[in-house]
Symmetry: D2
Subunit: 312 residues, 4 copies
């Protein structure tokens, strides 16, 4: 299932094809269209199709705001303005379609973003390939350390290595069992003609959540930015963040002006509460404020201080 | 507002431009891209952008059903199969964007289809043009006759003509008043420099529902077919149906195989109730069934008989 | 159409009824259930039904976060935490249903919030009542002043009064014409038995956007807060803001803890861009920053300064 | 995780509580509120909350259709009419919230219904219990036979039993390994104080898709019927169908009139294509039609014949 043969044929036809269109294009994205960017040990992200570019956003905004937007002399300013003021509908006018290969447990998080269209490989009808995710030793240790929140030592390199060997052995064993239950290999050939296999829809339930699936995923630019704001973020699990990070690069290629505004107003910006804002005003007047006076909880105070480099 | 000058410039740039793309195209739709198809007295529908074609549906289905779909030897069969069995997600993989000019009262019906993206001209910020919808005498008479459901005579040609004159006079009057309230014309020039105009957001509230607005409307193919099934239908109001009829032609250009399946399985198909199905089975065995025996109400029985040409 | 007789009967049955339920309730909202809160000159907002309360949010969060949330010792803290960190799904577990009477032009803005359910009165099938919105002289003047953005004097009281008289006269005229076109009154009685009226679906198109319609509107708590954040805001048009303001009070009655968090983290909080945040850090270190150095545009700098009371 | 202790407390408080409300209730659903209906070997479905009943649908329809609906003399007729003619918005006015325990592979299918709200137990933060799904021997054999589509013999009882033993052994093994990787039990107690465990978010990826999760799932009545039409259907996988079947009973308790209409017009009704309808008309006139003449494919012809009991 890395990519099926049928897909490969179709995609290589597409990759070599360059045709004329009267549609507007995104030169940056055209360069990498269909290209599979590797993620994790067996996954990938590739852009399969798209509609619109920065111009499409400007155009849509001008339908809405009519002649009034003539004043906004240039596209960059308008796009920044729209994002700053959460006028999100013009961004919905662009659409992108990805082909993604990812472990089940990542797909389960991914799919929680409901305002998108999905076609996932169905293990009810087809046989999954022997591809499973095994974390690298560094990430195994790092994630464990973060999750313990400093309550313990990190895993030693030796301990990490041992666990990884075990994970690999287990996944191999599960796949062997899967084939035996099906009594067919992933080409659909019977393994033991004397025996009956069980239904594919049941056999798949014995595989673990680190096995890979793949899907087509289509989303508009506004909702994509929402996805990226949540998933290309240190709070997201490492295994979904690496996908989001690559998609952030693809965003930059597709709609460079929007990307710039996204970084400025969403990704690297910050939100303050009513108490945070009041505290800021006082501090800026040169008056010190304590956590108690601020009305914030200890945790909020800490987050506030970190955001503003107030801790030393 | 027929199309603003800014839009005209942008669009004529786009219309003459033909560029290379590695994306798959729809030759039938490329031919009419950006072309405004007139609707009613001042409205239009034009396709501004699109993503995907019949191939994209087949491709998405093959991701889902994997190797299993190899058996379905050809695309036409697969698309028919998907639509017949309501496997709708592959159709969500195609997207289309329209630019539509339409009266307010049509826009109000249109917008009830929520699974779409919209950018509408804002009369809060911009001034509406003097464009309003007046029905033709035939439609005025025809719609009124239907609505009376045979309870009265049709409007006479003379009566229709008289009403139409009155509608036109009234709309002209409302627009003149609108300009006076704004104290500016639609180029933003002050009319009477001695006076103050009222806010655009308030002045617009005095215009009637037959004035024209315009919008960009983007929707996926699955939801477009749902829209067309409801609106390109005799039960829909004439003034929205004429838009849907043109979009049905555009559907045929864009995705000819899907169009064919849509006509076959949705538009010209029929749904029967449990009682209807039971009655059909009995009738096909050669046994007559009365309305009372069928379990259907009189109205259902009539609908049932009409669908099957059983009335004479 | 203030409220139809059928509705009145049904609602008065409901209002007097108190029945037992095993569902959890919101005592604050029960007190005002079905009560119509007047808005503008003929509009209202009333809560017709609801599901869930602050407890429901806590419960849903605990399903998600499992035993881990035991540590969050109390509900208030958990709700604040969820809203601060944009964990929005637990708020989707509460639902509310409103009955709203509002002018067409307000309904047109309202309906742009797509993640909600709507049943609107249909003037295709029924006759609209003679109810239209006329701004008060103060709001007429105030909105016009704001929209002119200081480019002119306010309307004088005399000018406002004159305009209002004219608006009223015009609306009366339009309704009289509507009845004449229909050739029936709003009880469905024929006015002139010698003549034919035109279809309701066409007659309605002659009424202006300040006439009233009504709808049932159902939305989950997360999306309601999004609506209120945009519409109970000084940038929103006055005529929709007054509805949102009342709904904000209803929010407080329904889910008091969530209301508190909403005010703290959304409504009265503020978002800063990457440049804004960088500027804040520098200022807090005691180093002055100019607009040019900040990387912000003049307009952003002004917004930044106003948010932080930095202007004098 | 069958139900956490915190949940048990909360739910038992709720179950014994009966309070007054001015909201309309559904007596049939109140009787079983909070009750867990067992599904599969460890799963359940329970209704946690709801809003509205058959009356709410009628009320909403009357807002839409105004005085016109007075003619529809009774609620039953109106609800049947609405469903027959796909006037779906009034059904969106009712909402229901379920608490569901189900295997991962069922949850993955479930979640594809996007127009719903979900809070799922997070194994990123909490530890999963030792609960996994093992099919019964009959279903293992039955599902496998269907999937082979007559291409082989069924599994023998002995073969089924053997496979089931193996599945159970494997799941036990995976859970033991999960605990060892975590180095804690599901109360959060450390197992081996000398060792470090790995992060919960990684350990969970080693469990197989037959392990149980749980979620709160909230949906409106229209979308629930769509879910049930697809999932309480012979084409759905057995393991999701058993959930849907129970929810169908809950639908009957909640909105008995809607349930009746749903069975009549959706569940037990049938849809015919354009060719099917044409063939029906010819057959009803007494003229025989062959598959070739019908324009249907062999497979369509077979489906057509089966629906109408035309095969012998």
């Amino acid at each position: 299932m890395p990519i099926t043969d049928t897909q490969k044929e179709e995609l290589s036809d597409l990759e070599t094809q360059v045709g004329p269109t009267r549609r507007d294009s995104s030169p940056g994205l055209e360069e990498v269209l269909y290209k599979a960017f590797p993620v994790l040990d067996h996954g990938f992200v590739r852009v399969i199709d798209y509609m619109g570019n920065d111009n499409a956003i400007v155009q849509a905004a001008r339908v809405s705001y009519g002649k009034g937007t003539k004043k906004v002399s240039e596209d960059r300013g308008l796009i920044h303005y729209l994002l700053r003021h959460s006028h999100t509908t013009p961004f919905e006018m662009c659409e992108i379609k990805f082909h993604i290969k990812l472990p089940f447990f990542v797909a389960r998080q991914w799919i929680r973003h409901r305002t998108a269209n999905v076609n996932e490989y169905s293990a009810r009808y087809s046989i999954l390939d022997k591809e499973y995710y095994i974390p690298s030793p560094e990430h195994l240790a790092a994630q464990s350390a973060i999750n313990k929140q400093g309550r313990g030592d990190s895993l030693s390199p030796a301990a990490s290595q041992e666990i990884i060997e075990q994970l690999r052995k287990e996944s191999e064993h599960l796949y062997a069992q899967y084939e035996k239950l099906l009594n067919e290999d992933n080409q659909g050939n019977s393994l033991d003609s004397e025996k009956e296999g069980i239904a594919r829809e049941l056999a798949r339930t014995t595989l673990s959540l680190n096995f890979y699936t793949q899907m087509y995923w289509k989303i508009d630019l506004h909702n994509l930015m929402h996805f990226l704001a949540l998933r290309a973020d240190p709070h997201a699990q490492y295994e979904i963040r690496v996908y989001a990070d690559i998609m952030l690069d693809l965003l930059k290629r597709w709609v460079p002006l929007t990307y710039e505004a996204f970084i400025q107003y969403r990704k690297e910006g910050a939100r303050f509460s009513q108490n945070g804002l009041k505290t800021l005003k006082t501090l800026l007047k040169g008056t010190p404020v304590t956590q108690e006076e601020s009305g914030m909880t200890k945790r909020e105070w800490q987050e506030f201080s970190e955001m503003l480099d107030l801790t030393r």
